[in-house]
Amino acid sequence: MLGIYRCLLHLYPASHREQFGAEMIAVFSQLRADTAQKGVTARGVFSVREAAGLLRGAMREQVRVLGAHVRLPFPTRRFTMRNGFRFPKSTPVLMTIILAGVVLAIDKGKAISASLPNVNPHIGPIQPEHHTFLPLIALAFAVFYVAGALGWVILFALHRSGVHRLAEFDPSGDSRI
């Protein structure tokens, strides 16, 4: 687990890792030791919280480092989720109920449609619609996920290339790139 944590730390900008990396690992080790005596659920919650915190923190730091040299036309802070934000616990339950309702409604619609008599020979039999919006939602999720991942890769590659440091270059002085 410590190995995964160290790997995830590499998503942070080098400056942040140099300044806080060792300290973060030390604190994480202490927290992990505390959680080791607790149950499986507590350990799971701890792991998810730490992983999510690291990913969100790394993303924020990368955006900050890039944003320091690239003037964005909007405040980046608006796109960061507040630290204390949590979905209500009822959210997954409500989402499941709504999804089940939609699926049942579609099935019911199919059954009614199939049972209707075909009185007009010019129209032909009424066929149930097989294309629901569920695959569309899944496709939209996949597209957004891929777009987000691509954006992240581009930002990360730009940062790793050190291109943002060109702004610090002073040809007349002895500043380092």
Binding site: H16, M24, L54, G57, G84
Partner: protein, 107 residues
Amino acid sequence: METLPLTEPVLLILLSLAGQPRHGYSILKDVEQMSDGRVVLSTGTLYGALRRLLDDDWIERFEERDSSRGRQAYRLTLQGRRNLQVEVSRMKHLTRLANLRVAVKES
């Protein structure tokens, strides 16, 4: 850059440092205790907030003398303490106002 009003985690971190200087683990535990377990910070969240507070000179970092491992600790700067007082005053005013309004509504 930290701006007022502060988010709850940042406010709790500053309140934790208002009493005494602390290192990372101690801040996490104190925040959890102060919020009765409601706010549990991850290390990523904590060190992101600490970095911003350091950049804005609200807190400063120093090496603990009595620690054998040379741990880094954090304490409020004068500016940080002043900003915290401004935020607490704002919250006091808001609470007083809310109490008045709620009391009027109930009567």
